[in-house]
């Protein structure tokens, strides 16, 4: 009862944001946020600690549908925590980020922004808590809508507006898929809820329904080829928003998929294989496209797609494990996925925040304009580095743990499984390792070009370190990353618990026990690494202290007049790679050639874009074609009366004819 009222109060008080005076809006929002986070976190922890298996909080009951009832099980509880962490840190970061917009935008703009932020958060919470279909669709759509308003914060820019609307439409299309899927369930079982899925699956073929749901949710999650909105929307949004969107919002798609996968009963194997294949494509293509991006945030967006691929791989493996009833594959696959959701939400938001700080300081996201920021904004650089290391899954950071779980799931089940599964698994292992390698390539490039070397432009040269209010919140994220990385046993056990409860697996003590020891060994290794490193550095300090240390110019092979322009650029760093990946990526080059009779060539420009094949062929072309068709159809409004009458005349004759022929 208390929870209900509290939650309702919070969601209605959000409306007051429009009344609050401009300077106080931020703190008002923060207050609401903290209150709500406290409330919901208490719920989820009470569920996670198992003091209650399931918690039901009925909100009001609308006459349509079975109503808004918040149901919290282990999975929802987990997601609630993830959402709360990212949203809170994002908002703390936002204060510094939004400061410069203060005078440019009127109070209403800020109200809308904060209001949407609050509602993005609330709707995400409700998405993971609501089971009833109609209510789910409503909050699902509210989530899309609020994020839309967040994306178009800088709405004067036409491109941003275009992106935002494109995003809105794609979300709407996804919603229709889910809607139809739910309606099928409703039609078959008379109930329209996630709880009714089991009943449906028991009686009907599972794959078609799953495909409908999957398509709908995959658009949100950004599985290739349904990802096209993602690399557009993330750069367009302000960084705290892109952090939250990429950190948790796209995970809502994953959540949906999991909810659907859990009650599935037949077609498991083919479903699993499907998920795995799509996820591998997503992972590989995602990181491949990430490597060639020059826009820092676009790069991060593509890498989000890659990580979605990894999560999907985990889930797919889990499903296959269920199909072959191979408990360890099931447990490890799902746990890897679940843990990677948490991890990715941490380091990806971290990366986005710092990309934001860079943009904030230099007003450009184009890596070709950056460089040498490490010395100018050391904190940001170190935070970004941490994020990069973590996202590459390198020990002793958290990314490694989740990837390790997924790897182990696959390796353990290799010897036991039959021919085709083992081929699939080895393929996935190869792909996953390739993804890892490419991630290293991608982020050495991102970090190295952006933060190291000499600045490539004036903006970069005069960059200032981001404000304290933007740095400090992120320390929290880093702490979490290291905690998971070095203290993995503490985190993985609960994750196992969550997975066991969600899929109601008979918990395998031998696997979980073995893993406790494995993980502790990993922690030890990490510890050894850290200690050795520390020792080495200390000794190095002492050693150099007793010898002459001088500084000179970088070795230029005898060439002395070195300018920053001669550094390796983002493009040139990816050149070799681009050469390999040409068939997939199709990089367009624009060069103005030197003319025949041009003795003294003037200024020339060279530009290279690598645009998204899927976007062009799957979205743009068909849409343009249909839109053109519609415009052609729309020629009736001639303004001439006789035409107006003619339509009626023809329509009547047509229908009469059909009526006579009994066609209608």
């Amino acid at each position: 009862m208390f929870s209900t009222i509290a939650f309702l109060i919070i969601s209605f008080v959000t409306l007051l944001i429009f009344a609050v005076p401009k300077p106080l809006k931020y703190y008002f929002t923060l207050g609401l946020l903290v209150a709500g986070i406290a409330l919901t976190s208490v719920w989820s922890i009470s569920v996670l600690t198992g003091s209650e298996q399931l918690r039901e909080i009925p909100l009001f009951l609308p006459s349509a549908g079975t109503g808004f009832v918040l149901v919290i099980d282990a999975l929802s509880a987990f997601f609630i925590l993830v959402i709360n962490i990212t949203v809170l840190i994002g908002f703390l970061y936002a204060r510094g980020y939004l400061a410069p917009y203060g005078q440019r935008m009127n109070a209403l703009r800020f109200s809308i922004h904060y209001f949407s932020y609050l509602w993005l958060w609330l709707s995400m919470l409700m998405v993971v808590m609501i089971r009833d279909g109609l209510s789910f669709l409503i909050v699902w759509e509210i989530m899309a809508l609020s994020s839309f308003f967040l994306v178009i914060f800088d709405a004067e820019e036409r491109s941003i507006m275009k992106t935002g609307i494109n995003y809105l439409i794609q979300m709407h299309v996804g919603m229709f898929f889910i809607l139809v899927a739910f309606l099928l369930v409703q039609d078959a079982t008379g109930r329209m809820s996630f709880d009714a899925l089991g009943e449906y699956f028991a009686g009907h073929r599972n794959l078609p329904l799953f495909l409908l749901f999957f398509t709908g949710f995959a658009i949100k999650a950004g599985f290739i080829p349904l990802h096209t909105w993602l690399p557009e929307a993330h750069p367009a949004a302000p960084s705290h928003v892109s952090g939250v969107m990429s950190g948790v919002m796209i995970k809502m798609g994953i959540y949906g998929i999991v909810r659907v996968v859990v009650p599935m009963q037949s077609d498991l194997l083919v479903t699993g294989i499907l998920i795995v294949v799509i996820s591998l494509i997503t992972g590989v293509m995602g990181v491949m496209m990430a490597i060639v991006q020059n826009d820092l945030k676009k790069l991060l967006a593509y890498s989000s797609i890659e990580n979605i691929g990894i999560i999907g791989l985990g889930i797919g493996m889990g499903v296959i494990g269920q199909a072959l009833d191979n408990p360890s594959l099931t447990l490890l696959g799902f746990s890897g996925a679940v843990l990677h959701i948490l991890n990715h939400s941490l380091f990806k938001s971290l990366l986005f925040f710092n990309a934001g700080s860079v943009y904030h300081a230099t007003h450009t996201r184009n890596m070709e304009q950056l460089g040498g920021l490490m010395r100018r904004m050391p904190w940001t650089a170190m935070l970004f580095l941490t994020g990069s290391l973590a996202i590459c899954g390198l020990p002793p950071f958290n990314g490694f743990i989740s990837e390790y779980l997924i790897y182990m799931g696959m390796f353990n089940s290799l010897s036991g499984s039959a021919l085709y599964p083992s081929i699939l698994i080895v393929g996935s292992v190869a792909a996953l390792s390739l993804i890892g390698g490419m991630a290293v390539f991608c982020f050495t490039r991102a970090f190295g070009i952006t933060f190291l070397g000499e600045p490539r432009s004036e903006e970069a040269r005069h960059a200032r370190e981001a404000g304290r209010s933007m740095i400090i919140p992120q320390i929290g994220t880093v702490a979490l990353i290291l905690l998971i990385g070095l203290g993995s046993p503490l985190v993985v056990q609960p994750v196992f618990e969550i997975v066991n409860r969600t899929w109601s697996l008979a918990s395998q003590p031998m696997i979980t026990g073995a893993f406790a020891s494995n993980l502790s060994q990993i922690s030890i290794a990490g510890g050894v690494f850290v200690v050795t490193l520390a020792a080495l550095l200390l000794y190095r300090r002492y050693h150099l202290g007793r010898r002459s240390v001088t500084t000179g110019p970088t070795w230029g092979c005898g060439y002395t007049a070195v300018t920053p322009k001669q550094q390796y650029t983002a493009t040139s760093f990816a050149y070799n790679y681009n050469h390999l990946a040409k068939p997939v990526l199709q990089t367009r080059k624009e060069i103005d050639e030197i003319g025949e009779n041009e003795i003294f060539p003037g200024k020339k420009r060279f530009a290279s874009h690598s645009d998204d094949l899927f976007k062009r062929n799957l979205i743009d072309r068909p849409v343009d074609c249909v839109a053109g068709l519609l415009k052609k159809i729309a020629v009736m409004q001639t303004g001439q009366i006789r035409h107006y009458i003619l339509y009626a005349f023809v329509f009547m004759l047509l229908v009469l004819l059909l009526a006579m022929l009994n066609i209608l």
Partner: protein, 204 residues
């Protein structure tokens, strides 16, 4: 007797297709008014006298006199006499209306109904067809107006077909005439450019 009148009516319709001058149109309209009046007189045996008188008066007054008068005034003012600016050449118009006649006859036979005189049905349908055809194939506002009058005659014929059962329907239908009268007065009072078809400021 009624049937002769109706056939005559049909012939006037044919003339609409072939007529060249607006004045002809107006005469035809007037003629149709008279014919309808006659038809009403001979057809409506079962309605009470007052009602019959009302109907007759209406047809004579409005259909045969007032509306033609108004129209002719407009024509005089706007100074156009010929029905040029057709979207379709007159010859095809004729063909169309012949086809229309056939179609309506066929329709009538399909719609055959013990209580309704089939020839009514046929001609009424044909009238409707002609009226719509006039509107659709002409560009001048004035011709549109005439087309509308024809459509309205069609309505009147239809209502006559069951006038004996429910005279109320006829009376209601008559409202249309008054309505149109108001309409014409209203608009050509407002100097609507009757002779033009330049009414295309509003379009996409």
């Amino acid at each position: 007797m009624v049937n002769y009148l109706i056939v005559l009516f049909a012939i006037t319709l044919m003339y609409f297709a072939s007529a060249e001058r607006l004045s002809t149109y107006i005469r035809l309209v007037a003629l149709q008014g008279l014919l309808l009046c006659g038809i009403a007189v001979f057809e409506l045996k079962e309605v009470n006298l007052a009602n019959l008188l009302f109907i007759v008066a209406e047809t004579l007054l409005f259909k045969a006199v007032v509306l033609p008068y108004l129209l002719s005034r407009i024509i005089r003012r706007s100074g156009v006499t010929k029905v040029h600016r057709q979207a379709v050449p007159g010859f095809y118009l004729l063909l169309f209306s012949i086809a229309g006649l056939l179609v309506s006859v066929i329709l009538a036979t399909i719609l055959l109904n013990p209580f309704i005189n089939p020839i009514y049905l046929a001609i009424a349908l044909f009238t409707l067809f002609t009226g719509l055809l006039l509107i659709v194939t002409h560009k001048l506002i004035i011709s549109h107006l005439i087309g509308f009058l024809v459509v309205e005659n069609a309505v009147f014929l239809f209502s006559l077909a069951i006038g004996n059962e429910m005279p109320m329907l006829i009376n209601v239908g008559i409202l249309l005439d008054i309505f149109v009268g108001v309409l014409i007065l209203g608009f050509f009072g407002l100097r609507l450019k009757a002779h033009t078809n330049e009414l295309t400021m509003l379009k996409d």
